[in-house]
Amino acid sequence: MMDISIIVGTIVKIAIVVTITMLHVAYAVYFERKVIGHMQARLGPMRVGPHGLLQPIADFVKLFFKEDIVPSNADKPIFLIAPVISVVAALASLAVIPLWETFAIANINIGILYILALSSVGAYGIILAGWSSNSKYSFLGALRSSAQVISYEIAMGLSLVGVMMLAGSANLVDIVNAQSKYPFILIQPVAFFVFLMAAIAETNRAPFDLPEAETELVAGYFTEYSGIRFGLFFIAEYAGMFIMSAIAVICFFGGWKGPHFWILSHVPNIVWFLLKVYALIFFYYWIRATLPRYRYDQLMSLGWKLFIPLTLANIFVTGLVKLLY
């Protein structure tokens, strides 16, 4: 018999993680607007609440009360279900992420594979949304986005092979524990660089945000969406950003581990973890405010002609060095 307390415990854990993620999504949008505002010598949102702190809540209420428009020649069932697929793929990825050593919803030994599989499922949400909208902007955005996501997924998958070779496991808890002496970024800098670029492309963020390039495609694959369905795509995008940053922190920056000296060793693990994750998310915003958008041919050749050979070479070198020492 399955112990009922395990199921209840799991549901409580899931409730905690999903609530944190929802709060993260709300305030990541606010944080992004503030950061980019200040980088462009503006103030960002200021009107709702002190320093615009209630802006995310106002946004949510607005989206919730907006009309849900379904275009007349859209594929109705697919159009309605596509944002839910995106959100499920993004939220389900949270299951394997360990916030600290004993806190992961599912401590399974195929953690990395699971994350990559679900990021492939996320591509379905995008392409189904674009296809079913029956609008030219949506369709082009979906084509671009799915081609980009699958191209960079290869580079991302290959960049993590080096990490798995060093840790001898695909379990995310084991990978963090393997970094107790030094974080893997010191010995896998190439893999980290490729992973970071691929993660930005995978989440359709600037400078690889061609699927939703405002100047040419309006909003890309979710042009026809309005109200809360539009909000669901936003949740999926920002949750995806959190997950990708968390994977980068777990695989390259030692996850929840912090420095072990003086007062710093008394800081709780979760603080270190979130600090690293938000430093990476800040980096996402920073490059969005700094870099111009790539051209599509440049994007594809960067992924196929540079990152894939680079990661294969990284696997070769890692294997060779591990063999010799």
């Binding site: 549901i11 799915s146 699958i150 594809m300």
Partner: protein
């Protein structure tokens, strides 16, 4: 790591308990996605008319069908993805077991990557990776 629970008395029945949370989170995530949609029906307005429901084309009346021919490049990318993603999946168990495989495993996998590399160079030479 892989703790399973034998269902009582039934040979070959195996419930991987580590994967149960995955099932639960899939259900919870679906609920999180659907709840605002269903609750929203109660509060949001629904006042459709034909112009509002036409696809957005920057204010002009929509022209032609959306499902027209698109670049064959996207198909090539999809096929290449199949090849390389399968390669990546083959690399995972190898990477996890790398410590135990030693020199033999290293040479085996490098041969595998080398064969794929020939295909990669062929695709590159044929212009499959060019985006004009």
């Amino acid at each position: 790591m892989f703790l399973g629970i034998k269902a009582c008395g039934m040979p070959g029945t195996y419930i991987p308990s580590n994967y149960l949370p995955i099932l639960i989170i899939l259900i919870v995530a679906t609920l999180v996605g659907l709840t605002p949609l269903i609750l929203g029906v109660l509060v949001r307005p629904k006042r459709p008319y034909s112009i509002k429901l036409s696809p957005y084309e920057s204010g002009n009346p929509p022209v032609g069908d959306t499902r027209y021919k698109f670049s064959v490049k996207f198909y090539i990318i999809a096929m290449l993805f199949m090849v390389f993603d399968v390669e990546a999946v083959f690399l995972y168990p190898w990477a996890v077991a790398y410590d135990k495989l030693g020199l033999y495993g290293f040479i085996e996998m490098m041969l595998f990557i080398f064969i794929l590399l020939i295909g990669y160079i062929y695709a590159w030479e044929k212009g499959a990776l060019e985006w004009e």
